[in-house]
């Protein structure tokens, strides 16, 4: 040990310099001792975080080549079928970075896949939080931050999808313009202000660009910091189990165990996205062709996280409201404005609704098993199935083709299932939860039945010891912690 207090010479140099300025040793030790519960479902949020990192890494690369301009030019690049066509600079630069920039296609495909993985991980993470009741006091605020992050992720997915100005994304923008127009009173103004005039206009691409690469990512980064900060401040939730109580957290320490595991997860997420980008083609815009307002592609498919809105627009009846000299296109407004509005409002409100109607405003750090809260689980499962059916409805034409049946039949099946399925699923879920909670020993590991033959030839059966994981009351070991308190 030398004068700095460190035994290790290297620490005495660099770390002590930092310590004198930041009190690094004190803070550092506390951080390293933070406990992370070991449960697979806790990795979902991490996957979202890591896909965001991949998004930033690949996205910065794309900005070096992409030109956010709707200026029409004649394409002279290397892709022969497009030679001589009038395309926007945005489109030409995206084709160019995909086909002519070395490694560009991989970066672009990884970026697109990462966005899909990002939103998917967020949604599954949200389900985990919901079904285990992790949103209860004191974590309501973090739940709200999480929902905002979901909205931002979807928004940025949409804006990014629109940037290449290809035939499919341009159609998506056209639909978005009509959706804005469907808002009563202010819709037309809103649409003109956002697009800088009537659709398509020349301003929307540069505007989407700055929103996509700067405004939303910066808000996401800030909120992510808040999300994680609150998580550290509140400490993790955990499932109940051996030695796990409301007043403690049981798991592995941040350093080194969690850091190693989560680094592994980061690498795996990165690898997964890289594999998708390498082997599964996504959004080959050079095949779609440039956006022309009077052209349409046969296969208009949005990214998966927009599918529920597309499906809702398809199965909505054509109820345009007219009166008092005004038009309110409810056939667009209800599925594309009211439905997402209601969805996210309910998501924001859920923790408070549940606390209010469930009369439970207490602090909770132990997670629920979904079956133990049959009503919540039933509502959640029913709602989830509603969105899954809507998602399915975004493929009415594909399904009609596939099953060689009429569009009408497919449409009406969806109109009916979208009502029936959620109710049925909710009911079934409720029943199953009840059943499970009433079955003794359910959810516990089975104990082996051991048969023993005695020397006399008789047989004897008895149940083996319970698995160590299920032993009740086994207390986890306290984390090794600060020396001065050890002496106390």
């Amino acid at each position: 040990m030398n004068s700095t207090g460190y035994t290790n010479g290297k620490l005495a140099g660099s770390v002590d310099w930092m310590d004198q300025r930041l009190g690094l040793a004190r803070i550092g030790r506390k951080i390293m001792d933070k406990i992370f519960p070991d449960h697979w479902s806790f990795m979902l949020g991490e996957i979202a975080l890591y896909s965001f990192i991949v998004l930033v890494i690949t996205g910065v690369f794309l900005t070096l080549y992409y030109v956010p301009s709707s200026q029409q030019i004649i394409y002279h690049g290397s892709y022969l079928p497009l030679r001589g066509r009038r395309v926007s600079e945005a489109y030409a630069s995206t084709v160019n970075l995909s086909l002519n920039v070395r490694g560009g296609l991989l970066m672009r495909q990884m970026h697109h896949w990462a966005a899909d993985v990002f939103t998917a991980a967020i949604v599954i993470h949200l389900c985990r939080i919901f079904f285990t009741g992790a949103f209860r006091r004191p974590r309501e605020l973090n739940w709200i931050v999480g929902i905002i992050l979901l909205i931002l992720a979807i928004s940025n997915g949409f804006t990014g999808y629109s940037l290449p100005d290809d035939l499919i994304s341009g159609t998506g923008l056209r639909i978005m313009f009509s959706i804005i127009l469907s808002i009563p009173v202010i819709g037309t103004y809103l649409g003109f202000f956002i697009f800088g005039g009537n659709f398509p206009g020349k301003l929307i691409i540069p505007r989407l660009y700055i929103i996509h690469v700067f405004i939303i990512p910066i808000i996401i980064a800030g909120l992510l910091g808040m999300h994680l900060g609150l998580l550290i401040y509140h400490k993790h939730t955990q499932f109940s189990g051996k030695g796990r109580r409301e007043q403690n957290v049981v798991g592995s320490p941040l350093w080194p165990t969690f850091v190693a595991k989560t680094t592994g997860l980061f690498l795996m997420t990165f690898a997964f996205i890289a594999a998708l980008g390498a082997f599964i083609q996504i959004n080959p815009i050079w095949q779609f062709g440039p956006y022309q307002p009077y052209k349409i592609s046969y296969a208009v498919q949005p990214d998966w996280y927009m599918g529920w809105l597309d499906g809702a627009m398809r199965i909505m009846p054509s109820w345009e409201w007219t009166g008092f000299g005004h038009t309110w296109p409810l056939e667009v407004f209800i599925p594309a404005v009211a439905l997402p509005g209601l969805t996210f409002t309910l998501l924001f409100a859920w923790p408070f609704l549940e606390a209010h109607f469930g009369k439970d405003k207490a602090e909770h750090h132990l997670l629920d098993r979904p079956r133990d809260k049959p009503l919540r689980t039933a509502i959640g499962a029913g709602a989830l199935s509603f969105y899954v059916v809507l998602f399915g409805a975004s493929a009415t034409d594909v399904l009609a083709n596939f099953f060689q049946t009429s569009l009408n039949l497919v449409l009406w099946s969806f109109r009916i299932t979208v009502v029936i399925v959620p109710i049925a699923i909710a009911f079934l879920t409720y029943k199953i939860c009840k059943e499970l909670t009433e079955t003794p020993y359910s959810g516990q590991r089975k104990r082996a039945v051991v048969m023993v033959r005695s020397p006399q030839g008789g047989y004897n059966a008895y149940r083996a010891d319970p698995h160590p994981d299920t032993k009740a009351g086994q207390v986890a070991e306290p984390v090794p912690i600060e020396p001065e308190s050890t002496q106390a």
Binding site: L106, Q247, N248, G251, V300, V479
Partner: protein
């Protein structure tokens, strides 16, 4: 729960020496293996760890090779599947190495940490209130008028500074959505600007057309269908609109504005691929299926002496999807 002020209330017992692996190795076999000696178990454990170490080493070596593969692939041209494949394999192998280390060679605990109280004590709350209200508010309490003035000017700043943020964003809609570039007498041209003559389309043929001088215009796009060789009346009052069986409809779907691009010649229906609205061409393009609420507006067509198709007027109603200012016809 202890409530030391700085929140350093995590339990404290040193366990530094006890960082062995193998907490996950409990299983039924260990319990039933009565005959096995202790040293055998330790030996097994040692061998298992050794094997895991080899796995980690191999995968990290594999990762190294893959990353070299990334470099080589890039150098020889950056073929997408190889580049991404090597990258993915390298990252995954490195990930396996790191996870093996984290799972088997690092302290697994389980460790425990105590939570801290989140809510403040009554005294803390009082101190907070005192600072916020007494210390901060007293300056304003006696100067209500100044406070009001400040509030007013800050509000004015907020409002006027918002002007450019909102009003400058785009032009007012005005009549933009009510009209297109079609004028009485506009010649019908293709997207390349070539005027369309009356014998250009076979019966059953379709063509996307625009008013002359505005080829490619989004609002004015019109779908020209030759449904027959004789004039067709689709609706009352449109007797003269379809010379030689030519029908012109706005190509903008009345649902959400996609171009209504698919024509089914047999059923004489137009299909919008976005949400599958179907319009009946021979019946004034009324929607017969799907979410579209209104017929596609029909363009009154005529033929001049030279045989060129011309519009008799603009569409008689706003084209495209509904919007608030659209008056009920």
């Amino acid at each position: 729960m202890d409530t030391k002020e700085n929140g350093e209330n995590i339990n404290a017992v040193s366990k530094a020496g006890n960082l062995s692996a193998g907490n996950n190795s409990h299983n039924l076999a260990n319990h039933t293996c009565e005959g096995c000696g202790r040293s055998d178990l330790a030996e097994q454990e040692r061998r298992r760890l050794r094997a895991l170490e080899v796995v980690a080493q191999l995968s990290v070596i594999g990762a190294l090779l893959c990353f070299i593969g990334v470099g080589v692939t890039y150098w020889v041209g950056g073929q997408n599947q190889f580049l991404g494949g090597f990258l993915a394999a390298g990252l995954a192998l490195l990930g396996i190495g790191v996870i093996v280390i984290g799972k088997y060679f690092m302290p697994q605990g389980p460790f425990v940490e105590q939570r801290h109280e989140i809510s403040s004590t009554v005294q803390q709350k009082q101190l907070f209130e005192e600072a916020l209200v007494e210390r901060g508010g007293s300056a304003f309490k006696r100067r209500k008028f100044l406070g009001v003035l400040m509030g007013a000017s800050a509000t004015m700043f907020g409002i006027t500074f918002a002007f450019p943020w909102i009003r400058s964003l785009g032009p007012l809609p005005g009549k933009t959505l009510f009209q297109t570039w079609w004028r009485p007498g506009s010649r019908v041209v293709t997207v390349h600007g070539r005027p369309v003559k009356v014998d250009d389309l076979e019966v059953g043929g379709i063509l996307t057309v625009f008013p002359e001088g505005h080829a490619g215009s989004s609002m004015s796009q019109t779908i020209l269908i030759r449904a027959a060789s004789l004039p067709i009346t689709t609706r009352k009052g449109r007797e003269t609109w379809s010379p030689h069986g030519y029908l012109g409809f706005s190509k903008i779907c009345t649902h959400a504005g996609c171009p209504v691009g698919l024509y089914e010649e047999q059923s004489q229906q137009l299909l919008c691929p976005c949400h599958q609205s179907i319009f009946d061409v021979l019946d004034g393009a009324v929607p017969v299926f799907g979410p579209a609420p209104r017929p596609l507006p029909q363009l009154p067509l005529g033929v001049d002496e030279e045989g060129y198709l011309r519009a008799r007027s603009d569409f008689l109603e706003p084209v495209g999807p509904g919007f608030w200012e659209r008056t009920t016809a």
